[in-house]
Symmetry: C2
């Protein structure tokens, strides 16, 4: 153990005396418990932008999105190029809202569902920003925000962009069947969101701050049905939430909203039930982005929305604005991912899940 | 600007006076130039492990690898499962060498070439370690090492694992053709390495340290030929190298070895030529892991090895040992990736590249 007395002076030569006793900050001073980090200099989400397809723009959150496409091909000749174009737009507009140029940005963290994350890579190609490519399936929004926040808090950057995307048509073709096949869907199926969300993190100003990050472990309870991803992801969501509460000493009611990514209607009910076995009740303030983004019955989206873009656009379009308007003070964003591929499923593997939790608070 | 005078005392009440004046560490105090970070508390690579397939074990570096498989299926019923098993082994053995248990590890950073990075995800499933999934194509080893080092330096972790893998057969099937097809290869083709490398980072002991990280931007000079990935990645490798030298003020000769990931024979020559246009000559100490791992003529591997596993096993098996034995003092590891997918190529896209540089030095 070490003790430190530090005396700082600002530009105005005002003396600040800090006495800190505890674990050597050099090793893991920010770590709480096994999975959580408390940020010392919480980065602020200084801007956010959401762009969605027509179906999302027809749903319950239609008033919240920054841009609703009429044409989900974005004028491109493939769905993959359209998805990349959406991400490019989300990043460009988020920069514009932050009144920043790409040369001001230290890092870009992005990922998506496509093989070799081509949506992100080709969007990143259009920016002269050092780029870290990520893959967390539908957990990518909070994975991206986690790493972006850590690198900011570490003193490595002034501004960082975190982004992700998904597209119904590119995802259907890759994970399931071409649209023309007209395959049948079942009640537990989810509808991949066509959308991209991007956020710019900075150090200054009165904006929502990222305060805690709980990084998920891969959890697998043996679910095999790729038509029921919600259930596959529940163990991971619950594990991360329980770890978050234990590590921070917080309770569910400390957050205005606990927003899981895309458990969907089915997964949300399962999660609410399972977490009670660990002594936590989240029913009062648990919303699931997948359940919220569509009107399941009217829009025939079965269990709800899914995809990286789901929690991305619901956070950047809806929750971020609520925080900025001070309608709510705190959100625990828990994007959830199913870590399978068509190959792994065809080879008889089960579907592991992962969930990353990020606490975002308006001071 | 801020100034800080800090007075610390250790357990023996020894006084340490530290005076630091400079940019407010809260924003980007570690940043050098546009793309480089100088780590304040350089994490140490306290163990490393390399596992390779039979062909790699027959090559020029055969004496260096920690484990050479007789059977590249690892007894599994698919190449994808075999690849994941290799990564599981690499991580397990690296932990064992560091005399650590999985419960000691704060984070696992890993990625691979497979769709939805299933090699990494299914390996991560076997460990109870918070997991960040990455995708950087063949640049993943240095991308993983970069983020692992940053999170260590940030005070978020005591121990972190960085790993990656590739497998000739899983890559051929996914990116090109099934093996049974017997497709023809050309002189610029590269041979995906069957191998996995893992490293454990810690804070203590006399081990090679990660000192600087230069994060790459996506660079695309219009190369379209997926049979010549080396050439596609050259612009990114050169761009990152030049940025590294400019940001740090270092010269190529400051490193004993500059190790690019997998430009291969063709790409290496191009890179040596292109970087001279920027005023740097790296020919004296530039090795390419892809060129080094196979005997191109004898083993019929055309331009050389490729894949995430290439720079991973050449670093963990060969370069790390040279650093530990103090035969060399410094390595600049520059893993290089081609950010395409079969889909993007078939849609007529060019092949963007990316390269991340990590300086590793033995004090």
């Amino acid at each position: 153990m070490q003790g430190t007395i530090s005396i700082s002076f600002t530009e105005n030569y005002k003396l600040i005396l800090n006495i800190k006793v505890g674990v050597d900050m050099k090793t893991d001073g920010k770590k709480l418990g096994k999975q959580t980090v408390k940020l010392e200099n919480p980065p602020k989400i200084i801007s956010a932008y959401s762009i969605v397809g027509p179906k999302e723009g027809d749903g319950p959150l239609r008033e919240c999105f920054d841009q609703i496409l009429n044409d989900d091909t974005c004028g491109k000749d493939s769905f993959e190029k359209a998805e990349s174009e959406m991400m490019f737009t989300a990043i460009t507009e988020a920069l514009s809202r932050a009144k920043l140029k790409e040369t001001d940005i230290d890092y870009l963290f992005a990922g998506d569902l496509l093989n070799q994350i081509i949506s992100s890579s080709f969007a990143a190609r259009e920016f002269s920003i050092p780029f870290f490519g990520l893959y967390g399936a539908c957990s990518t929004m909070s994975e991206s925000l986690s790493l972006a926040s850590i690198i900011m808090d570490a003193g490595c950057a002034k501004y960082v962009v975190a982004a992700t995307s998904s597209h119904f048509s590119s995802a259907e073709r890759q994970f399931r069947f071409p649209l023309e096949y007209g395959s049948q869907r079942c009640g537990t199926c989810q509808w991949t969101v066509t959308g991209s969300g991007a956020m710019v993190l900075g150090h200054e100003g009165n904006f929502p701050e990222v305060t805690y990050i709980t990084t998920g472990k891969v959890k697998d309870y043996g679910q095999k049905d790729p038509n029921n991803m919600g259930a596959a992801m529940v163990p991971a969501a619950v594990d991360t939430l329980v770890s978050h509460f234990k590590d921070t000493g917080r309770k569910p009611s400390d957050y205005d909203i606990i927003a899981t990514g895309d458990l969907g209607k089915v997964g949300k009910e399962l999660a609410d039930k399972l977490i009670q076995e660990y002594g936590y009740d989240i029913r009062a303030n648990h919303m699931d982005c997948g359940e919220a983004i569509f009107n399941g019955q009217l829009q025939k989206t079965d269990a709800g929305g899914s995809g990286c873009g789901c929690s991305a656009v619901v956070f950047t379009g809806y929750l971020y604005k609520k925080l900025m308007r001070k309608e709510i003070k705190s959100v625990l964003l828990v994007s959830t991912g199913a870590l399978m591929s068509p190959t792994s499923s065809l080879q008889g593997e089960t579907i592991p899940g992962i969930a990353h939790a990020v606490a975002i608070e308006m001071k």
